[in-house]
Symmetry: C2
């Protein structure tokens, strides 16, 4: 596997990056949900923590029956077993990143995992 | 631990989300590097794959001596052992997300990890 892989994402359709970037520790998708729409199902996960970043627009998610508002700049962690569904507002869609990682998989990070070369 | 945690990030200074969002599978930072600047060191990682998303601006990274240009919309995976350093252009800074995950930690994802409730 190459030391790095780069991709420019300039499209406005959903894209999944795992295969494109040869990711081994995460799946990442970039998603677009039009105004007045919802993800058409409620879901949870077996192992994966999900982290959402709202890039544009506004809407809400319902997590185990609790409504959480969403707007640009929001970052959200959801535990694997929580039931979740996403909805946009009537007037604005959502552009968001979804990151899947295995719960409790991270060991060291930043200073405890980095090696400073020079 | 709560089923979810939300944070609105609207600042223009570096922020690390691991503690704020109680992440267990990733560290995520949002970074701002002004025009004409660089991260002041070369670094690699012991265990962690890094994934960068360029949100605004342009610049370059040097990975094991190879120069890779960066502009808004670029996504980049870098293997743990690769030496890397980031630079902005003379005229534009960079706003970017850095995601650290443990290499090879992901097992199932999306359809193989999701449970559809209804």
């Amino acid at each position: 596997m190459n030391n790095y892989k780069k991709l420019n994402v300039n499209q406005s359709a959903r894209i999944e990056l795992h295969d494109e970037l040869q990711l081994t520790g995460a799946e990442i998708s970039i998603n677009f949900l039009p105004a007045g729409a919802s993800v058409p199902f409620v879901h949870s996960h077996k192992q994966n923590e999900e982290i959402y970043a709202i890039l544009e627009g506004c809407g809400k998610t319902v997590i185990n029956g609790e409504t959480v508002s969403l707007s640009a700049g929001d970052w959200l962690r959801i535990s694997p077993s929580a039931n979740r569904q996403f909805f946009t507002s009537e007037n604005k869609g959502l552009k968001y990143i979804c990151i899947q990682v295995k719960e409790n998989s991270l060991e060291g990070y930043t200073q405890s995992d980095a090696v400073i070369i020079e």
